[in-house]
């Protein structure tokens, strides 16, 4: 057994443990100096990235990778599952890849972006903790464990949103986020308690196998509603999105980009609940959430673009844009769910549902890259000019050439102009959801054009225009920030040029994972 095999076998635990170890070591390493600590953190995340890709190579070949914490012994004693389990399938690893890309970019970016700040040890500790939480959320196979990681993520992100404590608005945004996310998390806990009380299990696979059409009752419905409401709220779906633009907009740019990942981890929670936990009862009419998802997606999209149109704060505007992008994911996946949960229809005869889901899932990673890049650009502009209002900016394309180019790439990608990656996933969504109802595709196209208008407005008011005396001597963003933006931009172009490759390797296993919940549920009894 060579070292790679051992690493692969241990990777689910190590992916969570490595950033956690890094987080605890950071205050100690921080005593050794600025550069040492930053290199250490980048190495920690690079190792994590290596482990994620190692695990991905295994999961993408069709396995579901499980990991038992604390022992190799069989975990099923008669009818109970003991010990915490990690269960990694295509969707989990897909989300883990997004997380690792975003956090790596954020850390590289922070090198220069956070140079002047105080309390950096705590900043990096919290950042790594947040990453840990996100990894835990997407990899775990245990419902209670999911809650714990959800809390870790939200506590760490609260502290990070309020990192610029001298700004009253940042503190206010963090407070609002804390209130709403705590209440949401408590509802999650409550519904987990309901399910535990009824089915005597916390393991997602075990629970899912016990929730059957026969046993389905009031309490299952109630848990589903609470889980769904809390997680969609944490994912920022309208009309429970109000915390999101504030939180995204007020946090430091390097945190906004990780927050994108945190929101998407909650989105993962929604999908896991709808498709896997309630996978056996998906065809019961009360659980047919497809249309609800689709309509929530449309509302999110429209509210996002309309509100973004009138924003004048750079980052808040992008945050509303990100909101609109979330709507596309819900639209795509919701269309799939509608077909999947209708007993009269089947995926085989309605292949568009599969395509819509592929589009929705593909859009998750595209959104992470595009919106992430835009946030980083916004941070770079703030770093150079100390201005965040679009009304006071102008003409900085003269001084910041590379940043302008990166913004242009992000602009094209987020509004889905060919040949960027956003176009590929939106094309998939448009060309499939119309079969459920033509109006869906029409609104999606409209929202995408409005997104373009919004981003062009930013491009004009921040980057173009006459020379402004105040910005005469501003300089290009430092190298580390350019590198972070460059990583995301090159991924955007790569994904845009080879959409077929990405869909086949990354997206397909993720879609397969949620459309075939039985393989996830049945691994306990040995079936695949």
């Amino acid at each position: 057994m060579n070292i790679l095999d051992i690493l692969l076998q241990q990777s689910p635990a190590l992916i969570v443990a490595t950033p956690l170890l890094g987080a605890f070591l950071t205050p100690l390493i921080g005593k050794l100096g600025y550069n040492v600590r930053n290199i250490f953190i980048i190495i920690i995340l690079a190792v994590t990235a290596f482990l994620v890709f190692l695990l991905a190579s295994d999961v993408f070949s069709g396995n579901i990778h499980t990991y038992v914490f604390g022992g190799t012994t069989s975990t099923v004693l008669s009818n109970t599952v003991i010990r915490i389990l990690f269960e990694v399938d295509g969707l989990s690893i897909f989300m883990a890849i997004i997380t690792v890309i975003l956090s790596l970019a954020a850390v590289i970016y922070s090198w220069a972006f956070m140079r002047e700040e105080t309390g950096q040890d705590k900043y990096y500790t919290l950042l790594l903790l947040m990453t840990t939480g996100m990894f835990g959320m997407v990899l775990t196979g245990d419902l209670f464990n999911f809650f714990v990681f959800l809390e870790i993520t939200s506590i760490a992100s609260c502290a990070l949103i309020a990192f610029w404590t001298h700004k009253a608005k940042a503190v206010e945004a963090a407070f609002n986020y804390m209130v709403i996310s705590t209440i949401g998390a408590l509802f999650v806990l409550l519904s987990i308690a309901f399910l535990y009380g009824k089915y005597d299990a916390l393991n997602i696979a075990k629970l899912a196998s016990r929730i059957t059409p026969v046993s389905f009752s009031f309490i299952d419905k109630l848990s589903l509603i609470l889980l769904l409401a809390a997680l969609t709220m944490k994912a920022g779906i309208a009309p429970m999105h109000m915390w999101l633009p504030d939180a995204y907009g007020r946090a430091p740019a390097s945190i906004s980009i990780i927050l994108v990942g945190a929101t998407q981890a909650s989105l993962y929670g929604v999908f896991r609940i709808c498709f896997t936990l309630y996978g056996n009862v998906i065809q019961i009419p009360e659980v047919s959430l497809g249309w609800i998802m689709v309509i929530l997606g449309l509302i999110t999209m429209l509210i996002g673009v309309f509100m973004a149109m009138i924003q004048i704060d750079f980052k808040k505007l992008i945050a509303y844009g990100a909101l609109a992008e979330l709507g596309y994911m819900f639209l795509g996946v919701g269309t799939g769910l509608t077909i999947l949960s209708n007993p009269q229809l089947s995926l085989a005869s309605n292949s568009f549902a599969l395509q819509a889901m592929k589009g929705g899932i593909f859009h998750i990673i595209n959104d992470a890259l595009d919106v992430g890049l835009l946030f980083l650009v916004a941070g770079a502009v703030y770093y150079a000019t100390k201005e965040s209002s679009l009304n006071n900016l102008g003409g900085i394309a003269r001084n910041m050439k590379y940043t302008t180019v990166f913004f242009l790439i992000g602009l094209l990608a987020v509004s889905g102009i060919p040949p960027m990656n956003g176009f590929a996933s939106k094309l998939l969504i448009y060309e499939s959801v119309y079969q459920l109802n033509p109006i869906l595709a029409i609104i999606a196209i409209l929202a995408s054009i409005m997104l373009l208008a919004i981003m062009v407005k930013v491009f004009y008011s921040a980057f173009l225009g006459p020379k402004i005396d105040r910005f005469q001597d501003i300089r290009e963003a430092p190298k580390s920030m350019l590198i972070a933006m460059g990583i995301l931009a090159s991924l955007i172009i790569f994904f845009g040029l080879f959409p077929d490759l990405i869909v086949n390797t990354l997206v397909e296993p993720a879609v397969k994972a949620i459309t075939h919940p039985t393989s996830y549920i049945l691994w306990l009894t040995g079936g695949v």
Binding site: E431, Y434, Q435, P438, A441, I442, I445, K457, F459, F463
Partner: protein, 356 residues
Amino acid sequence: MDIGTVSITILTVIFGAIGVTLFGIIIGLLYKGIDRKIAAHMQGRVGPPIRQPFLDVIKLFVKENIVPDNAIPWVFHLAPIIGLIASITILLYLPIGGFPAVLDGIITSKGDLILLLYLLIIPSLALVTGGFSSGSPYAIVGAQREMATMIAYEFPLAIIIVTIAWRLSLMQNVSHVFTLSTITSIPLWNILGPLGFIGMILLLLTLIIVTPAELSKIPFDAPEAETEIAGGLLVEYSGRNLAMFYLTDAVKTVAMGSIIIALFFPYNLSPILSMNGYPAYIIDFLFYLLKLFLVILFSVTLIRVGVARLKIDQIVYTYWVPLTLLALIGLICIMWDQTIMTQFGIPSVVEILGLT
């Protein structure tokens, strides 16, 4: 894939691109001349000669290419080029006369309606970016109006495109309904019943009113509005950069006309006259030019001469309320058509007229 196929593919793309560029520019300018001539006659003037647009372009190439102080030079120069290229690439996906589209079948790539919708955005986007980058208040006002117009007309346009694809997707044994070759091979007129026929006419009407906005022509030329903001987003452009935009406009007219033809009038003369070989290509090409002329005449020239300019908020209102409603009624007609046809056994319009 062996070397031979690869080289043939590459050569096809290269020569196709060159051919389409020449075709687009020449035909575009020619139709611009015809358009001006007809408009002049309608207004009781003599008008310039038909070759006037060619002369205009040549003159612009000779003129100085001024870069204003307030402009960001690289964006200012790049925008016109990107706009022109993108509008030419639209033509690569469109069937012209009896010829299939240049990019059809290159590594199984085919023209796609949504792709065309987005490619149509790029020239407008280039125009907007160019206007914004020139740093003049007139240009900026014009550019933001162009963007608002774009949001406005994209709504009915999306309805038209999705409706057509949706109707095709109901048919048995038809896949890839967004592909242009599918759409041109099954004209919807042939399969729709009376209600759907009315819907289709409504959609065509909407598309004809969308076209002048897409091409920034009166009554939707608020972005340029010479009398009001002095040429709007083009105010700072001159010389060869302006020539690029001039050509973009010409090529885009051809592209937009060709899209209307592909969506609504994909018929060719040669099957009716049972011709084939070179004569068929020639007669189809001439017929295509005629169709293009009629489309441009109705959607550009007549509307342009007949009505006055709208205010920008009126434009948005026009597209988002009356025209969207019109297109939605078309959509609903077409949606109900299928049910009504099967329920009451109504034959399609073509069968009623006995044209099959």
